[in-house]
Subunit: 420 residues, 2 copies
């Protein structure tokens, strides 16, 4: 079918026209539609059978173009193909941790998937101090499965190259390259920041050592084709509840550095930690939740590191180091040491990419709602200054990071005594 | 035209059928053909106008499949498309340093190019102790132009990704992954080595630290998509004479680490240095030529580093660090320091990849003719042992390498007093 944007009427006809929808809806007579997208990027419809409300889907359609920040970054609806491919891959590798895909249509730039009616966006839940007892387990499994099984540690050389060739994604990659690693640190019209931290922002922009370090991380981001990364894995791309976790919106997916995704998760949790200087005035309540978040960060990394190592040891069919390569006296110990060295390097890269992402959220085009929802600019500035200091230290001290405690330790040191 | 392999008769009809050939040949009545390929990999015909012998071309055609080392590594004739694309790119970026391409035909897996009748294969010339006064200048220009202008330092993000997507080359990449970074260091039927260095070979295969270092370089080789590299730039892929240098056979080309190409050139020159313990019994003559080769290595790197830096400073239109990013007090000094840091890292990676390539030539599927042409196995073993020691040190000491003199210094130290 030739591309045309759907509306609240035509979406019903479209749903009825797809054979796959017979598996979801017992009947099509009582379908209702709710358009919930923001209208800039994509159309997002929730379609529900009012005769059996548990039967519902999300239909997402890319608009023919997207203009971010004026006219400078035009995007085609190719991005929906990347999102669909990545969603299918995530469903295959981490079942239950991404929304189930029911159907897709490349011509129409449409994907139809599970409606996560009982889940909340994690960013909102964290601001409300909700607790998620399974999140560390779930997200570490998602990260291990989506990263390990798309890397050279598992795939053969040709499998990896042919899969990577399906994720060229040159337009959305440019957005991240510009908005994470470049524009925030120089004059660019779309940047915005709290005027109360202007001195810190200007200091970042003219700090030669820091700028060189950011450029080094950018080079790694642009060139290290390690695995299929989500590439936008902040807490706004995670929907969850007490039992269940789903990673959504992987349209930025491409073959990049594993550490970028891990760093995004950990760094967003620290930003939420900082936001409670604004959101949670009660000291005991704040400190309790902040301690919970720091524990969660440690827990996510430790579970990730353990599962990654175990998964690698148990599934070493990839090109990088075939089992036979370690077939010599003490070879198994060498393989184990090699895995640990790999994971250790990964943590240092997490510190680097995560560090940059702190900075970009404070002075680039998009902040995080955790902070922008603090109405008192002075309180917000307290959190933002800390974010800049912590980000700088994660980045600049990355090569001496030895354990996750070094990263949470920097958070503890920088926030010690703040608003006691 | 549907694919069919040409022979000495049909190649003439084919040449006559191509309009492009009217630019090369004044007439087609006196064409003669000489098949010069080895018959395994490709057909290679030299077609000459006997009425005007200066008029000649090389026509290269891929056979429908290639089997290297028995049945294990089947390849399709796709490789001719990669070779053609890379040759065209090299002609565009480094004119005069690759054979001119006159015509190509993807259906027939054919490329027609300049016949380099007055050039010799560098490997043979080096064994004969020939000198090439312009080689360091030429090859450093080839490396700078082919690497810099296909990297994120010059191309925009989308340009780079779209160009890289044309060089998936998953089959030939697997060959290099296996034969350079894996199989030589474990039991594999195609490996072969001089029995007199068996102890050294077995020591490499069971050296845990060394194996971990090789696996680290392999990961970099597989994942670091920095620039369009030649990926087989040994001295058998260079044809030259006293005035002129051409880089041939880029069918392995893909987006990989810049250091791999640079390391290949430098490391092959060291192997040739070592081969003269067999080829040049006269001590004064040998030492003079060996000194010449070490000077050449230093010269190539220093010219490369200078030209790379100057080219980057003068052509900073890429995505990695736009000029505006350095627009702050002392920003130009920071940009210069960043370039130097990049080039310094590159040298350390040259040591790593070059080091591995020493080892693979001593115990993998393909040695180098410089060494295999030494008939006396004992003399050959002298050179091979040194190659293993030097390769090991380049690799294991790579992170403390600060200048090219450190790498040539290792050659000097390891060869001091040998056969005086």
């Amino acid at each position: 079918m030739a591309y045309r944007p759907l509306d609240e009427t035509t979406v019903i006809d479209y749903i009825i026209s797809r054979p796959s929808m017979k598996q979801v809806f017992a009947g099509f007579d009582a379908l209702s539609v709710n358009e919930v997208g923001d209208g800039n990027l994509n159309l997002v419809f929730i379609v529900q059978n009012d005769a059996a409300p548990a039967e519902s889907v999300v239909l997402k359609q890319a608009l023919p173009y997207l203009r971010v920040a004026g006219d400078s970054w035009p995007l085609t609806r190719e991005r929906m193909r990347y999102e669909t491919q990545a969603l299918l891959k995530h469903n295959e590798l981490a079942p239950g941790l991404a929304p189930t895909v029911y159907d897709w249509d490349d011509e129409m730039s449409i994907v139809i998937m599970e409606n996560l009616a009982e889940h909340e966006i994690m960013r909102k839940g964290l601001v409300a101090r909700n607790r998620y007892p399974h999140f560390a387990d779930h997200i570490s499994t998602f990260l291990v499965n989506s990263l390990f099984f798309t890397s050279d540690l598992y795939l053969t050389g040709p499998e990896k190259k042919l899969l990577a060739a399906k994720f060229v994604n040159e337009q959305l990659r440019k957005l991240q390259e510009d908005f994470v690693y470049t524009n925030p640190y120089m004059e660019s019209p779309e940047n915005n920041w709290n005027p109360l931290v202007d001195a810190e922002v200007q200091a970042v922009r003219s700090d030669a050592e820091l700028k060189m370090a950011i450029a080094e991380m950018k080079l790694a981001y642009m060139t290290h084709a390690e695995a299929l990364i989500h590439a936008d894995l902040h807490t706004g791309s995670i929907m969850l509840n007490e039992r269940d976790t789903r990673v959504i919106d992987p349209e930025f997916g491409f073959f990049g550095p594993m550490a970028y995704d891990i760093g995004a998760v950990l760094q967003n949790l620290v930003l939420n930690f900082l936001s409670h200087y604004g959101h949670t005035p009660d000291r005991a309540e704040r400190e309790s939740y902040q301690a919970y978040l720091l524990d969660m960060i440690g827990d996510i990394w430790r579970q990730f590191a353990r599962k990654f190592d175990e998964t690698w040891a148990a599934n070493n069919r990839g090109e990088l180091v075939p089992a036979k390569y370690w077939d010599f006296p003490n070879g198994q110990e060498a393989f184990a040491a090699y895995r640990q060295r790999f994971i250790h390097n990964l943590l240092q890269e997490v510190a680097g990419h995560g560090g940059v992402k702190f900075l970009r959220r404070m002075m680039g085009i998009v902040s995080v709602w955790d902070l922008t929802s603090i109405e008192d600019l002075k309180k917000r500035a307290v959190a933002e200054r800390l974010a800049i200091h912590i980000g700088r230290r994660w980045l600049m001290e990355r090569k001496s990071v030895n354990s996750i405690d070094d990263l949470t330790g920097i958070v503890r040191e920088e926030t010690m005594g703040v608003m006691e």
